[in-house]
Symmetry: C2
């Protein structure tokens, strides 16, 4: 029977001032999904590795099967497909774990079915899976996981998703403190109403960040990495947030933000030289408040999900 | 005695989703300022043309002298300068009239004094004049009038002003309805607090507009020309606003917004071919509600203020 394996990268959503509209993909971290044809119709998850037994096999709840089901519903077919999921990402860490699984499943199944869809046409099916996994159909993880690079979600409703350029020397450090953050808490602290002047500040910064990406202007990227809408409310849920930010900037980082709804933090920097210093500086702060932290270094993945 | 004459272009501020952070300069419309050395120290406005007698000669109130005074205060000098102002712009129309006068005065006086400042260093002095003229030190008219092109004001406080690229075929039509709009009214209708989701929509659109300018993607520019923060409240003060927008889009325009705080409207389009149809369509709507309208066609001025 035909077997296809695909990889989809981890992602950072809510990129600081790009709250809810900007995400990017990470190199060397992500999930793998293998799909295999079988004769009897229907989708079945037959193995999940690396999740510590936490993810559901139920095809109404697993993001892989929900995503593939949305795709085959659109095609009006009912093939038999067995799914094997290998998690390379910690669950609920704010690194786009559910998005990577859904995207890898879609890219693999699309290939298995003879590529009835272009890559970017898979996005609505991945969003359908995000609705089941997260309760909200956000595209700022699935967009960059699918397409790679920095991705702007100009309009969720119309799925106007635009790939932005990535300066070659842009690198990322992910800091995953050993600390549980309830996503519901992280959502509930946001304000429904915000001051008009904060919206203007946010607009200026997101325009600056996009300009910095196009111009390869690292100083401008650094000046623009400032979120006045979500971060001030979410940062208080992450012990050491402001101290870590100060420390990593002193170590040469361009800036820092909360990845997704946290608790993972992303740090951007120019080139790989400052990375060891950034990691050491962050570890020292977290240790000083009794928290362990996993640190990952990654370039920006510009390729997105792909067949292996 | 040495005499220098400078031109500064009209400008559109509050470019739709770029409310408070984006402006652009117009070709072929603006103000002229001539400065002449004299022996006795002090600044004096000796003539103003084209203002219908409305602008003040008082050097504490005229934007030309306020701007030049801020510049010479910074230099710690007190030269004698006579100023002649020729207005090419209607006052209070939302085309950056006060900004153009201040910028032309600064560029001329800077040349007269041997160019002690780089062009972009003149910005704080122009903003000082805007404070006197408008009660608020906005940079989104003086920035593009000085520098030309599309200008992003990332941060007012830090004066982080960035010139954006302008696609060659981008054209503008200005529609100035014969209608008085009180700037105070136009400000007072704005909300102090806005929904978080409106801020997110605005961010997505401004990121889309900036991306469209960099990529020369006119469709993206068109999709992004949508202001959900200021326009819904201000449009109701401009008779025919939504009907005009529908008509100009049907005539091939990319989109439309309120220039500054109105009542002038700016229309963007690709190439000059759709311009006659756009103007006719807008005139028909305004005529149907009993309003005359002046229409101007302009390319985007990418040069900014300059010596003649």
């Amino acid at each position: 029977m035909k077997t296809i394996k695909a990889f989809a990268p981890a992602t950072v959503a809510n990129v600081s001032c790009g709250f809810d509209i900007l995400g990017f993909a990470l190199e060397g971290m992500g999930d793998w999904v293998t799909v295999t044809e079988r004769e009897s119709p229907g989708l079945e998850v037959i193995s999940i590795q690396g999740d510590g037994g936490k993810l559901p096999y139920d095809s109404d709840k697993n993001t892989c099967t929900v995503a593939i089901q949305a795709m085959i519903d659109e095609l009006g077919i009912n093939p038999g497909i067995e799914i094997q999921l290998e998690k390379g990402l910690p669950l609920g860490s704010g690194m786009g774990s559910s998005a990577a699984s859904a995207v890898a499943a879609l890219v693999a199944a699309n290939e298995l079915l003879g590529n009835p869809f272009q890559k970017n046409e898979l996005l609505p099916f991945a969003i359908a899976a995000e609705k089941v996994a997260c309760g909200a159909g956000h595209a700022d993880n699935v967009g960059p996981s699918l397409l790679g690079g920095f991705v702007l979600i100009r309009d969720y409703h119309l799925l106007d998703v635009i790939k932005l350029p990535v300066p070659e020397e842009l690198h990322c450090v992910l800091l995953h403190p050993h600390y549980q953050l309830n996503t519901a808490d992280s959502r509930s602290v946001l304000r429904d109403q915000i001051p008009l002047r904060h919206a203007t500040i946010q607009s200026g910064n997101v325009a600056g960040l996009v300009t910095g990406l196009f111009q390869g202007d690292f100083d401008l990227i650094s000046r623009s990495l400032r979120d006045v809408i979500a971060e001030p409310y979410r940062a208080v849920l992450i012990p050491g947030f402001y101290e870590v930010r100060e420390a990593i900037k002193a170590a040469g980082a361009l800036g820092m933000g909360i990845s997704g709804s946290g608790p993972t933090l992303f740090v951007l920097c120019k080139g790989s030289a400052p990375i060891p210093g950034i990691i050491t500086a962050a570890q020292e702060v977290f240790e000083s408040i009794g928290l362990g932290v996993d640190a990952y270094h990654s370039a920006i993945n510009t390729r997105g999900a792909h067949i292996l």
